[in-house]
Amino acid sequence: MSDPSEASKTVLIIGAGADSLQHEGELAASLIKVARALQRCGYRTHLIDDNPFNVAPDLTAGIDDFTQAPPTVEQVTAVIERVRPVALLPTVGGRLAMQVTERLATSGILNKYQVQVLGMPVTTVRQTNNPSVLNQTLRQVGANTKKIAPVATLADAQDLAAEIGFPIVVRAVAPVAGSFRRIVHDQADLQPAVTAAIQHSGIHQAMIQQSLAGLKEIEVVVARDQSGTMMQLAVAEDLDPIGIHAGDSVTVLPAQTLLDRQIQDMRDVAFKITRKLRVVGINHVQFALDQANDRFYVIKNSPYLDRLTTFVEQATGYPLARVHGNLVAGQLLRDLRLDHGLVKHTAAMEPVLDRTAIRLPVFANEQLGIGDRPLTTEKQSVGAVIGLGRSLVEALLKALSELHLDFFALREVADEQLDQLLIHPRANRLLAVLEALRRGYLLPELSELTRLDPFYLAQFKRLVGLERDLMQHPGDLTFLQQAKYWGMSDFLIGQIWQESAATVRQLRQDHQLHRTYKELDPSAGELDQHPAKFYSTFEQVNESQVGDRPRALVIGAGPRRLGNGVTTDYLLTRVAAELKRQGYDLVVIDNNPNSALLNRELASKCYLEPRDFERVAAVVALEQPEVIASADCSFVADFPLVRAGAATLIKLPPLALPTLKDGVTYQYNAFFDGRYAYPLGITRLTQASAGVTVDFAPDLPAGLGAALTKQGEEALTNDQPAGLYQLTAHRAAGQLVFDRLGQPPIWALAFLSRVTGLDLAAVIVRLALGKFNGRLLTAAMQGESKATRLTAVFPGPALRLQRPAQLSEMMGAALSED
């Protein structure tokens, strides 16, 4: 609120807690922008979160105050009592924050302390948490919802099934032992299923529900302001049908296979729901569309930011999170003034694209040993990449290049097995579709098997055609040109030609086949807007102009992967912030739509591009940065710019995790400036099958700390280069056994930065730039070290895997203080 009397009133922002299978960095990335908008509206922001890899509280702008605690009812209540916020924001903390908010309302805390909920009335929070109540509201506005009802007898079940029509899902209500769920396709299967469900039910009831499996899934994102103005931000389409979790589906923006009439009908319903629920800010409505009869069902309503909204923000160039912040603060769409090169009033202009954007889920199923598990309604993917192009094929290929898949992996698979892979899709099902197209499956047949729209299959067929053309014409320039136009990487072309990527690259350069960059403006080229976000394609006009100020390039961490979770993104974001402080114009390249790096407050320019050699080299060649920071792009060291010493390389420690012994190990952590070691504290890593914890400043057995410190300091008096170090030790037969001295893994750097309050990313940057002095460390070391525990989160439980926790599978973590 711009009213000065509102100044310095506090908004309490509920964080999302530890990253899990359900959410990764998207909430933290959105939170920074939302909080910044709230600050600009005159609020003081207070974040409560226990996710050590949420970078928001570590950045100078966005969060004023931070309580490091789990966002539980008890902890949030404590903050409310202490801080007395005027309002609470539940929309950047995922479902957990919505549940906490509901309980705070129910318990009377919000009333007692007169805390207003931003973004929606409490009744909407309740409905969001309670789908059956929400369904009543949805029906009131005329929206179709999935038919669902409990039955106690077979006769009732038969009546209901006749009304709903097969297939239906039969479940046990309040099952006594384990859940019971069965899809029933005809009358004959109904009787045994219902009987079994009633038997399984503690109250002798079966739940009969309509199955929407196989329908098209459409996701609509809208915004509404306090005055009731509504706008559509996106209509996205999931390639995979209902039955596969939306987060595991390939999502396309804008929707490609819908009639305008269908879009308008869903838009109307999304508006009605948003109005009825009195949502202020962003609302995300998911639909199931039956194309046979144009009927559509509302399957989910999420009045908060999520993985789709970050994708929409990156794909459209529309500053969705920031606008959400403005709207929940009471500003109106028509009054909003956007910055970063956007034209007046465009906050209220519905974003349109002159490109195609793909959100591709990233799985870790091979790593987890569940590579043959079919995709279902339960999410399995651990991360996502965004691909942008001027065609669907180009966008898809650019997204895929992150995965380093072998496109021909299924060459040897028998037809029958391939059919199974098409019918029961698994992670990266696209490979099976491509293989089927290579084998000449017809589109209608393939569409029947996969439930993929023939339009998409025709696009994939184009890709297979390109492959064939290349195969038949090795080294041919015309087909090379075609392949580049449709988004194939040098690497993929090389694979088909059985040449090296370097050879393809040379041929390309010899014939001036260069990429151009297009700007991601939200008006599809209608207005002269310059949000300074770019993607590449092979067309005529290049729009990325290089400035004359010194530039630093940060190569993002890409999609979340197991082992490091989002810690690389956390650390790179802090590296980026430091480079900016050092006076550089920051250029970022990343393909993770959930990255905190993709923030125009931080980066002067963003490239939403794959992070492979070809694309990174092209950005480097254009931008000529003085500094390049990267975590896992080892090829950067070979760039001529780097070799010639024209660019300083900042490399984060390798992603590879140190081999750690089971049981308990201790780490001496220190910074070494070439002469002196500055201790950063001792950590204790406990690895057990039940879980993994890391304790900072733990209670140690007598003498252990001193012995470890002594050994560490001795190891660092030799000819070690300056840097961050970690010496690991374990106890065997009562003796302390020291392992090799190494670099702390990235997650440890992130953890240590958070618990010591010392910006280790800044240390790394200054060291690389030759601007380091010990003052930073000495100042930080004055503080008292609080014993803090990091508890790692693994995907195992959510995926129902019976396996011991292993650090190499960490996907997130929570902090707690003793």
Partner: protein, 360 residues
């Protein structure tokens, strides 16, 4: 691989791949930023003598559907896109975009850097004529420069003869300046008993049908080129029965009431501009396809008041007469393609007719 070219009168050449008809055509090149609804766009008569560039890169993703055409014989002169979907019919009667355009003798060209093309069109600062040709040589440019596009667009697309579209409700006369089906669809939904008259219909001819209301349809071209008797007709009709003007109909309504209409340096075609309804202060979105705009300063405040304004370009989007039940909008409240949230204007028109009718 290029086999078709889009050439512009400023000398620019864009190479691509042809689809649809192999004919050579000429037209003004305009761009549309709608994300879907290619069928409704290419069949809108407003695109008479125009070549439409789609900013959204993929078109022809769906077959053509029999119930969403906006006219029977589309007068559009060409379709330009980045990608044409490789369409394979899965049903017996399905027709893909390329086949349809071939049947309608309309050329298309794909593989174009449409973003660069749109930037080019904007940079020109005036409407550019272009041609879709098999060879982009001097001859092609000579042809383009020699071509004179008619300024009698309405006469070319409007129906030459009256025809009825009967129903059981209010009696409405639609004056056809290049009518798109969406208007008839909205009137049908409201059970209107419609007669469509040629644009040249006089007030007497209209009133002879004793209508409850009159709709001035949308259409192509400059309102100034529509013959002056039309303005006479409007000035008479607005005093007699409720009147609704849409698109070109709105521009003519403005002219008839003393306002000026000016040519836009860059035509605006899309669905996404915020349009403010002045009386409620609410924002709505609607289908827009405008080459001309009512000059805001020229609006005689004693005759008319402004009802809608486009927040992006600040243009007049709606007018209402001060004394008569007559109003008009620049945008298309019938959507097709586009949001439905302004279709309530047809309800407003229905209410006006009822009110006037009860007044006798």
């Amino acid at each position: 691989m290029a086999n078709r070219y889009l050439i512009l009168e400023d000398g620019t050449v864009f190479a691509g791949t042809g689809f649809g008809s192999p004919a050579v055509t000429f037209g003004e090149v305009v761009f549309n930023t709608a994300q879907a609804g290619f069928q409704e766009i290419i069949t809108n008569p407003v695109y008479f003598n125009q070549i439409v560039v789609f900013a959204q890169p993929n078109i022809g993703n769906l077959p053509l559907y029999r119930n969403i055409y906006e006219t029977i014989t589309p007068p559009i002169k060409g379709v330009v896109a980045r990608n044409l979907a490789s369409f394979e019919p899965t049903g017996r009667r399905q027709v893909g975009l390329s086949q349809y355009l071939y049947q309608m003798n309309i050329p298309g060209v794909a593989g174009i850097d449409t973003r660069a093309l749109i930037q080019r069109l904007k940079a020109a600062g005036k409407p550019l004529r272009g041609s879709i040709v098999p060879v982009a040589d001097d001859h092609a440019f000579d042809q383009l420069h020699a071509t004179v596009l008619t300024n009698q667009q309405v006469a070319q697309v409007a129906t030459p003869k009256p025809y009825p579209n009967p129903d059981v409700g209010q009696t409405v006369v639609v004056v056809d300046f290049g009518l798109k089906n969406g208007i008839l669809r909205e009137l049908s939904r409201r059970k209107c008993n419609v007669t469509v008259l040629p644009y040249s219909a006089s007030a007497q001819e209209i009133l002879r049908l004793d209508p409850d209301g009159v709709v001035l349809s949308s259409g192509p071209g400059a309102p100034a080129n529509v013959k002056a008797s039309v303005l006479e007709m409007i000035r008479t009709i607005q005093t007699k029965v409720p009147l609704l003007g849409i698109g070109l109909g709105h521009e003519l309504f403005a002219l008839a009431n003393g306002a000026k209409v000016t040519r836009l340096p860059i035509e605006h075609h899309g669905l996404n501009h915020p349009i403010k309804e002045i009386i409620t202060d609410q924002i709505v979105y609607a289908s827009q396809a405008a080459g001309y705009l009512v000059d805001r300063d020229s609006v005689d405040r004693d005759q008319l008041y402004v009802t809608y304004v486009d927040l992006i370009d600040n243009s007049v989007q709606g007018l209402h007469h001060r004394r008569y039940p007559a109003f008009s909008v620049q945008f298309f409240p019938d959507g097709a393609p586009g949001p439905d949230e302004t279709d309530s204007l047809f309800d407003e028109f229905m209410d006006m007719m009822k009110e006037e009718g009860s007044r006798g």
